[in-house]
Every structure is written in structure tokens, then in C-alpha cells.
Symmetry: C2
């Protein structure tokens, strides 16, 4: 199977007809038509075997996750997804792998109405690089820099299951089989919160997605906004499975986990009901987990309101 046959067979679905894609796969560039008055949002993520996924991963789940982590960045900006580009290095043109990968990739793309508009394939060590493009009305993009003292701090979904699954894969922890299936699902099939992100335009003051752990990612928001925060540990939303683990492991998974792809966002207290509405309208659980303050730094408080001694280090690709 040659390069062009590979593209034709697995990736070229004639997506040029998709909304806003004037010309998709098959020319030097894709041609996209911007919506007048909207801005473009662009993000790129590279996934490497052994770093971002295990060699044993189901190709279908890899296809899903490679796109999901990118869409999650669009969600954090409140963007509507428009088009994505796939660059893929493969040790060999393996039809079974490609079939599963494409199935997972396109199932998620179709669920969110985003077209594969171009890409590149080459032989090489397995590497998946996706670039996503979305749009938001000018001036309504959710940024990291908008958090203000007094804002409420919110989290979507639940946190920590992906990290719990990783600990089982690493052999540092064990779970009953059915529980492992569930947390593994959280790790391998994250759901980008695109509907919620768009519903939060004009409501949230800042947002970020949790890819490297709540502590580290919230830290980016605090730094960009020049504020501090208090997080109520007991309020952090977690699955029943994680809630059944010992406190140290819960702390680690909830605060320094990563791979959650939930949104952490801030909103003024007067938007409290609007945030809950946005969650309800989009079928997304939203939980208030803390507040933004003037004083710099991040404190995690126990049920008595006392700061806990917790490890907030998040993931760094060149340090861990």
C-alpha cells in the first residue's frame, strides 16, 4: 500500500463539503472560509508512543484520543470546531491499525461536526500530530488571563480517573476488573467539553482544560490572570471508584493527575445560575470547587477550611 492509496483508503472521505471547508484533501493546501466577524482558534498536539499512549493501546481508542486532546483545547477557548489536520508517522502501512485508528478518529470528528481537511503521512516511529481549527465570535474567546478576585472556580465532569488508571498500568495500584475497565475508559476515551465551552462564552471569565493536572493547569490561569485561588478539596468531583481509594491517592489523582480533559473555569458570582444552566443545557456536570482571590498562590483547603499539605507538581515531558 503506497502513501496515496493509504490516504485515499483510510482518510479521504471527501470532507470538502463540510461547513466552511472549501477544498479539503488533495491540493497543496486546504482552503477554509472564515465566518465574517469570527476569529480563528488553532491548537496542535503531538502524541508519541510510550509517552502519551501505551504500545498496547487499541488503535480505535488512539484515534479518538488523538483528536479529543486537541478538541479539548478548542473547548477551553469556547470555540466551535471547524477543521483538523492529521500528520502521521507509521513504522509501516498497517491496514488493521489504520482501520481502527480512522474509525475512532472519525467517530469523534463526526460527533462534533469537524472535517479532516488535510494532513501528511510518512514512514517513521509512530507519531500522531493533529492541528485543530475552530472559530469564536471576535472578543468572546475564553482565555487564561480573565480570572478576577471574587470569581467562583468551577470544574466540569469528574477528575482523577485517568491518573488512577495510569497507576494501575504502572503496577503501583490495583483495582477490581470492572473498576479498571471504567477508569481505563476515562484515560483512553476522554470527552472534549465542546458544548459546555461554547455555552460558557459571555459567562466564564477564564478557562483551561486539565491535561497536566488540576494544580499545574490552574496555576497557568492564576499566573496569566495575576491572582490566587483556594480549592475546596472535598468539593472536587470524583467518581465513586476514586472516592473509594485512600486519601493520598485521591489527592494525587485529583490535583496532580492529568489526562482529564475537563474544563476548569472561573465566573463572577452573579453568573452562578448561568453556569449551572450552561451545564444543564449541555448535559455536563459542573461543580463549584473554590474561589479566586487577590493573594497569589494556590491553597487546597480541607473540610475545616485549613490548608492541606499537597503535592501539586504536574507533568513535564522533559522532566518526568
Amino acid at each position: 500500500m503506497g502513501e496515496f492509496e493509504l490516504i485515499r483508503r483510510f482518510f479521504d472521505r471527501g470532507d470538502r463539503a463540510a461547513d466552511g471547508v472549501v477544498k479539503g484533501i488533495g491540493d497543496d493546501c486546504a482552503v477554509l472560509a472564515p465566518t465574517p466577524g469570527w476569529q480563528w482558534l488553532v491548537s496542535t498536539d503531538m502524541l508519541v508512543e510510550g509517552r502519551h499512549f501505551l504500545s498496547t493501546v487499541d488503535p480505535e481508542r488512539l484515534g479518538h484520543k488523538a483528536l479529543a486532546v486537541n478538541l479539548s483545547d478548542l473547548a477551553a477557548c469556547g470555540a466551535r470546531p471547524r477543521a483538523f489536520f492529521l500528520a502521521l508517522a507509521l513504522p509501516r502501512a498497517d491496514a488493521k491499525f489504520l482501520e481502527g485508528f480512522a474509525r475512532g478518529l472519525f467517530a469523534l470528528a463526526d460527533a462534533h461536526g469537524i472535517a479532516l481537511a488535510g494532513g501528511d503521512t510518512t514512514a517513521g516511529p509512530l507519531n500522531v500530530c493533529i492541528t485543530v481549527m475552530g472559530e469564536a465570535p471576535q472578543g468572546q474567546v475564553l482565555l487564561r488571563s480573565g480570572a478576577r478576585a471574587g470569581d467562583e472556580l468551577w470544574v466540569s465532569g469528574t477528575l482523577g480517573d485517568a491518573r488512577l488508571a495510569l497507576e494501575v498500568f504502572r503496577g503501583t495500584h490495583s483495582l477490581p476488573g470492572d473498576q479498571f475497565v471504567q477508569v481505563r475508559r476515562a484515560m483512553e476515551l476522554p470527552q472534549p467539553r465542546l458544548a459546555l465551552g461554547q455555552a460558557l462564552r459571555g459567562i466564564a471569565s477564564s478557562a483551561i482544560d486539565v491535561s497536566d493536572g488540576l494544580g499545574g493547569d490552574l496555576g497557568h490561569v492564576l499566573k496569566a490572570s495575576g491572582v490566587g485561588a483556594e480549592v475546596y478539596f472535598n468539593a472536587l468531583p470524583r467518581s465513586a471508584i476514586l472516592a473509594g481509594q485512600d486519601l493520598m491517592l485521591q489527592q494525587q489523582c485529583l490535583l496532580a493527575g492529568g489526562d482529564d480533559y475537563e474544563l476548569v473555569f472561573t465566573a463572577a458570582p452573579e453568573h452562578h445560575e448561568a453556569v449551572k444552566d450552561a451545564g444543564a443545557r449541555t448535559g455536563t456536570r459542573v461543580t463549584r470547587v473554590g474561589r479566586i482571590r487577590t493573594e497569589p498562590g494556590l491553597d487546597v483547603l480541607d473540610s475545616d477550611g485549613a490548608p492541606m499539605a499537597v503535592l501539586l507538581a504536574s507533568f513535564d515531558h522533559f522532566k518526568s
Copy 2:
């Protein structure tokens, strides 16, 4: 050196101030402002060690080439470059490599006024994936599908030196030292024809850049346009060095070479002077090398106008 320090030290130059980049590195997404009435052109290329560059490559030249091959796709569409995104997998955070790579990358970016607006870094086998974005006025994008019977066929610059250099690296051919320096330069420092591409809007009927060899790339144009072509072998522009090699090697380098990153384009005969003007205005050599015909297929003609028996196979990442 951690991931964030690496980005700050080598790649974050605060390019957000660049034309059209509202927000660059440092949020979940970059925010770009489209020019009203223009369309976006997007292309992505992934470069892998041993496939697209040798392990011994000068990092500065690698930085140049990784961006150049992407900009060449924008050139082929007649686009004005706007922003690019860099995803980089590195075996380790090697300051010397990164310094050289960033120097070559930004020298070319600055020469063409394009900003690095975002990206991703990770540990992994060396892999450079760049996505470029440019703009062209709606309806003026140069596509592969516009060639018409009777059009003249043109090539920019000279062809074949990059392939000649590759043959020397492969040990199948040898050159005197100063000649090798020159052809190696063609291979490692290709110049994307952005000014020419933009000057050809409204003049050329189709265009493509030569990345996989003239035969193969012109074949894409013929297929997309539903036409055939005749190429005058003796007219193909080549360096004095390549002209000094035997005929078989010249054929191979000129027709099935690759890595040239010159533009191959078509234009109606009444635009002949306009094409020459566009070349002169942008300081780019342009040479008429053939004509488009109704009859399908591609014939390479000798000086008597007789078809030559030539090998037109171009490069395929999963076949060669």
C-alpha cells in the same frame, strides 16, 4: 531544562504582536484574526530523521527546511503567509540543537513575515511537524485543477540539484568539493517561492510545488485538471553543475528528483508576458518548459520533438 523553559527560551518571542496574530504562544489556542474577504490556506508537513533529513544535518538548516517545505505549499496556492505552529519531538532537550534549529527557523520566518503562534514539545524520536496558515483573496487561490489545454507550462528556478546532492550522500555519485557544497545547499536550504506565488494570482491557471519530483507532481496537476502535457526536456532549467553530468543522471534529477520546492505552474499563452513580469518583479527565474494538451498523459520530448523513454516515478514514503 523543562518543557516550559524550553519553549520560553527558544521559541516564545512574543510573536503575538505579528500581523493578524491576536494571541500567540501561552493559551490553550492561538487566536488569529482573518482578513475580511480572504480565505485561509492551511498545510502540514511532518519531517522524520532518516526519511526527510540525515542525522548529520546542521540543526540550523533543519530549522530552515522544516518551515521552507511548508511555506512552499502556501506559495503554490498563491497565499500570503500568516502564522505557523511547531510540534517537536526530541530525544532530549539539547540546548545546542535547539539553538541552531530555532535560528534557522526564525531567520526564514522573519524573511517572510510569518509568526510562530503556537505548538507542542514532547520527548520522543526526533520529529518535526509544522502547520502553516496563510491567506488569499476569495476565489484567487491557485489550485491544481485549473490547467487547460493550450496553457503554457512553466517552472521557477532550477530543478534537480537537491536530488544530485542526495545521490552523492548515497554514494552513487561523486562531485568535486565546491560543487557538492552548492548542490547540498539546494537540498538543505530550499527557498519557498512565496513572492512569485502571490504575483501569479490572476495570471496562473494552476500551480503545485515540486516536492516529490517534476513527473509525479505535474502528474497531480494533470489528473486534477483532466488534461495531458508535453515537457521539452532541453528547456528544463538546471544548474551548470547538473548540466555537466551524464544524460541519464540529468533525467533522473530533473524529472524524478524531488525536494526542489520550485513552482510548476500553467498559464494561458496570452499571459506569457505577465508571467515573465511576475518573475522579474519577484527576482525569480521563470522558464517555459512545455504545454498543456487535451490528450491525457505526460510526454517528455527531446530536441527533435520526439518522446523520450524516461522514468517518471516519484517518491513514495511507503514504497521506497
